[in-house]
Symmetry: D2
Subunit: 441 residues, 4 copies
């Protein structure tokens, strides 16, 4: 087994990175993709869907551990880290993205990866011991409770969940509602990171600095006063047992020692969490697109699907769709890898613009490719008989999660417009020189 990566990034991939990448690819193809069907078949019916996890996933986890494919996401600056660059790990994410079960099998699934990063970077030792260790071992899972229903929470400053301090009992008291807490449906999900505003009894925040108003609190999932209200659906899928949950907090109390990093430091925490996570999402989505393209090619050569005397592959528009998909995927991959590399050499903050470019490009490309694949399969494409429809729905949310496309595009435009002064200067110089030259006429 080998793996194809763009020549242009080869110098950036270490020998160890390449070897692990090949192992990941092999594991995904040999174990994970074939297990996806069983995984879905093992999900139970009705309310039972939320009470147990398809057994195959734990078998896959054992296999992955045995192959040394575990927690590949953690950068080397954590002591627990596998030590791959974002570019290297990004290439692994592409392979993982091809299978529904692969990311979790290698303990590299969202939102746990991001949450483990938060614990690793910002939590104190006690918190790490209690939550990071079992997470790293794959014994428990976690959720991040940020999104709220009645505000535009893509702008984190709008977040409203109220946290009051009960000084007497040295506790935080949470009141409010979150939704789209992904993974909170899983019976193994034992801990939530909850974002909210610490307010006094009059409901006032302690600072006008909107970037210092948010805090992140650790809430064990069985804490009284918290209840999972319902799973949200993504098109017709509920993603049980993982789930995207609406959670109600009513006088939900946790010790003040459950604060992460410190009061008012929520913004800082999510900022640090976003960059790499977006790259991982993007690279998994590239893997989705590659897998969809495989399905499309497979279909194009299906001998039983001859229309008007031709195989699908012999129709020019089918061929053109395959070519366009190839180009679009390759361009998107380069854009994502370029962002990953920039993050590797200059850090997440310097790479923000590059990450935004990747973030608005990769899901759109993947959706386009998957939709073409769906169309090539006809009615079978929209159904449960290929993974395509489910892939599409899963990726559709990526144009919304972590800020909708429009927000990123808007910010990219503003950023680009910051060049205006430099361009005006350049144009003024040009015009002066032009005039000087024209005087020769």
């Amino acid at each position: 087994m080998s793996v194809e990566i763009p020549d242009i990034v080869k110098p950036l991939v270490s020998q160890r990175g390449l070897e692990t990448l090949i192992k990941v690819k092999t594991f995904v193809e040999e174990e994970c993709i074939p297990a996806d069907k069983l995984y879905h078949a093992q999900i139970r019916n009705g309310d039972e869907r939320w009470k147990s996890v398809p057994p195959v996933i734990e078998e896959l986890k054992a296999k992955a551990k045995a192959r040394g494919l575990w927690n590949l996401f953690l950068p080397s600056y954590y002591s627990e880290g596998a030590g791959f660059t974002n570019l290297e790990y990004g290439l692994m994410c592409e392979q993982m993205g091809r299978s529904h079960t692969a990311p979790e099998a290698m303990n590299c699934a969202a939102p746990d990866t991001g949450n483990m990063e938060v614990f690793a970077r910002y939590a104190n030792e006690a918190q790490k011991k209690e939550w990071l260790e079992p997470l790293l071992e794959g014994k428990i899972r976690s959720a991040f409770c940020m999104t709220e229903r009645f505000v535009a929470s893509s702008d984190a400053r709008n977040i409203q969940l109220k946290i009051t301090v009960d000084e007497e009992r040295d506790e935080y008291v949470l009141n409010g509602t979150k939704w789209w807490a992904s993974g909170a449906g899983d019976p193994r999900c034992k801990v939530w990171l909850v974002m909210g505003k610490i307010v006094d009894k009059q409901g006032n925040v302690s600072t006008n600095d909107v970037y210092r108003q948010q805090s992140v609190i650790i809430v064990p999932s069985n804490t009284p006063g918290s209840v999972v209200v319902r799973p949200m659906r993504v098109y017709g899928y509920d993603d049980a047992p993982h789930g995207h949950c609406e959670i109600q907090f009513t006088n939900c109390r946790v010790p003040r020692s459950n604060i992460v990093l410190g009061e008012g430091r929520g913004f800082e925490i999510i900022q640090g969490r976003l960059g790499p996570g977006r790259i991982h999402h993007c690279m998994r989505t590239i893997g989705v697109a590659e897998q969809a393209l495989r399905w499309m090619i497979y279909r194009a050569a299906d001998e039983s699907k001859r229309t008007f005397g031709k195989l699908l592959r012999e129709h020019g528009t089918m061929n053109a769709n395959i070519a366009k998909s190839r180009i679009e995927i390759d361009a998107a991959r380069l854009l994502v890898l370029a962002a990953a590399h920039k993050m590797d050499v200059q850090g997440p903050k310097a790479a923000l613009v590059d990450i935004a470019k990747a973030k608005v490009t990769a899901p759109t490309v993947a959706l386009t490719v998957v939709d073409r694949a769906v169309q090539s399969f006809g009615a079978m494409g929209v159904s449960q008989d290929t993974p395509l429809a489910y892939m599409w729905a899963g990726n559709r949310t990526l144009r919304i999660a972590d800020g909708p496309d429009e927000v990123h595009t808007d910010q990219l435009g503003r950023r680009e417009l910051q060049r205006v002064k430099a361009i005006q200067t350049e144009f003024a110089k040009r015009e002066a020189k032009e005039a000087e030259f024209m005087a020769k006429l």
Copy 2:
């Protein structure tokens, strides 16, 4: 209550048509759209979802009948017909398309409408009495079993279900599998129209004329030897209790009197069924788009969704998306109505090309508009909290059903290319004249 229709078609709408259209719109808005939520809430869980029908639908049917809004689809040349033109009924379909429950409430839902047309046009009196009457009364429902899994059944000549004749018992014996039999999940679905090939014991057809090999047989849904294997899903939705079913026929026997029109006349039957049905689908899809646009406008003005200091409506791209949606919907509606009118004045055959144009345009426009609306709602848009995600999935199938876009586009292209001789003549004349003129120089 009034209704807006394009000025250009006003001369084509009768006073009675206009009055009924207004009644339909009123009924859809006052009764059906508000009932949609209850309808979905009344669908049961697990296997129970297939065993009963949300009670609200029968209440709506009673209300519709009381308002005289019943069986509006049947053209005047059937004695049972409401007598509206395709253009008039198309405008009503647009209103019905805005609500999930509206078409069935007025006994105007697919596939019953098409099936009732088949019975009305091609069935004998006994067949009409047994099946058409209760269908027209809304007492039973029906399915059309055409699509097959392992062939490209958008080309009906490929259909493989085998029908042999047991002369002794004067019965047809059906063997084969169908899927995507929409409506076959409904406990009220009592009759299927099944398309297949009559073959002898050696499996041979009796004619080489591929347009005379298919027959349509009436199969009561409880006939031994037939079994609904499973419901197909559409992006996670199973559309219970309606359902899109896979049905297995194993030595399934029905009397030879169950043939419709005659052996080998299946092609003729589906040809007659397709034209109006496509127009109705298209106009309902225009209604879907209009409803999605309403949701988008509603969202654009949502005071709680202020991002970066602006309402969504104040973002130029949101405004542009609304404008583009308005234009695209209006253009698509005109294309569909033009096809409907052509069918009215020149018949379905002459209108085939126009219907194809409408068929590839309307669903694509609707999907685009609905997707914009989804995006404007963020995570809420992909969920069960608006009808948008479900609308999208339902309309996505219309780019595939009754022939995928590619087939229609291909045929349209070929049709257009038939002009080549005339154009060559025109160009030759032009060149001769050009030469004559140029000689003056």
Copy 3:
């Protein structure tokens, strides 16, 4: 010879309209299209290009007059009017749009048509006698001087050309620069309608009402103080001898009797001028698209252009492009005709929104179709050996002239958003009813 028009508009076309339309089509095909090549060949080189007009155009004019195809654009409410509806004349425009020479041949070319409408509607008898009569006879041509270089003149309120009043000599004195005065290059162009602001000696306007600040003045083209500075190019074309000119006014004096309608009434005049003119442009652009499609079909069947063993027509993507072009043209035509008809029955003001939809749709469709045709011809397509490249450049300006697409789209969006109150009411009612229904559960 016959003519195809959409069945849906047939009831709206009078017998006389249909007969004239057929005559127009015949004349365009027999005389104008073949003369286009000669017309371009008769244009001279260097500065001479601006000093004479290709003789063939006057021959065509004589032929058109002889066939009774003259001044077809003027509505019946002018005594001079041919009396066709906008819809009927629009269909004729489509035919005219297929040939570069056709509109002028029938004295139906912009900007004269719009200018003649201005004279007919707003000028006094003396002005009509001096300018409208020779224009209607095709003896002279005219230009409209509105656009200015250093302001966003798509918003007419921005227009800056200064007009002062010399009471002593009873004259207006014009100072300023206009550009894109189309037709001002033509040696037969004898009169300009110039838009500007009447200001006092301090440069102040007499009213704060920005819709009452503009006036339209008749300026004979040989008036001292006015000079045609240069022709603007459209891509590489200068459209000689017609031309799109930059004109400098320096103390250019005309009698005060040269005011049209009255001081401060410029806005009123251009408002009246815009509606029908946009429809005519749109329908000519539909004709351009149809002609380009003919060229593409012709090319697709060119026996000498066999690539990889196939004719172009046998390539699926070529076929698909032809089909898509057919659909897009037909949809755009319906949109334009719907706007024309609305203008016919409800007047230009009521049709503003419909005209805007047509205005942003038709040129974009035409450009897309022409570009596909160019591509099908390869290098020949971008060159002078087909009319396609020139067609493209001419139509590209229509996305800018009379307000760029963005302005119209923006206004359409705002207009659509005016529905928000009605939709909020509708949704509130729905929610109330929903709640009532849900209470049954």
Copy 4:
């Protein structure tokens, strides 16, 4: 002065490459871009346009030489080569692409670069001495005569120009017509490389191997029997004095020593010429897009272009267009650089697919960006007052030259479909494993 290049390619750019790149950028901005206006102003009128070259170009050449910016294109394996990798030189091409005069100023303009490569790789010493030396010194220019009017010459096997051998006089005799011989209009163009078929007196070729039928012959531009018939136009532009010429060969005789490489080796020669040339075109086109984006940003901040109370930059759609342009350019650049690098490490043949991806992507992106810039400038954008319209026309030809997009897309699709066997195997394995897993249920 510095230069921005994607971080991901930085490890691939040598110190010398980076320094030269900065020098190129500086020269382009300080000298070439400001000289473009003068260059166009110095082009004469009428027939004179073809008889002299704007003097500024020779001044620029002197300046470039003085800065050591000369013949940067030749790879190190020619003794004359500057020795930059395709990736390094590609980055320089991007800078050159920003100015009309820059490529020629540094003796890096098409078609001379490709022709010099042909001479350097395939010509004998005498031929090199006569033609390569003055070309490398910038004393003469050259053209490549390949395209023919009446065949689909994007498939070189179709080329028809006839070359017969006059053994007696030891000469080749050429008969036929070429067009789109770019650069043949330039009075300094002294040599043509002409492609054609050597045939015997009966017109028969000597081999059935269609890849061995073409030969390349050196024809001095003043050879009797050859005549430049006319310049082809590109959207109205004739690109004088460079020109894209139609050339007629009538018994045009050259010595047999003028053959390049050998009889029947034409295919080999053009194959070698294509890869790098396409990359250079693509990177120049990226430079065009970057320059257009600068113009768009400049316009967006133009204080005089306030519409409806807002600067253009404050309109959301303008901002979104700028953002989209930024993303599309960056993705396209990565695709081109990836192909360049692949060519550097694996050779042109291995990079063919990558080059095709770049070739169909870069011009389309550039055209989209330039068109947005044109639209932002309104009427000024289509005119001679910005370089945008001319940029657009020049780049439009790149979707056609060296094979139209459709041919490359078609081949890419076929290439991708070659994976079908591997995918079928992979899917078969997966299905076997799936079945094994499912057996556990």
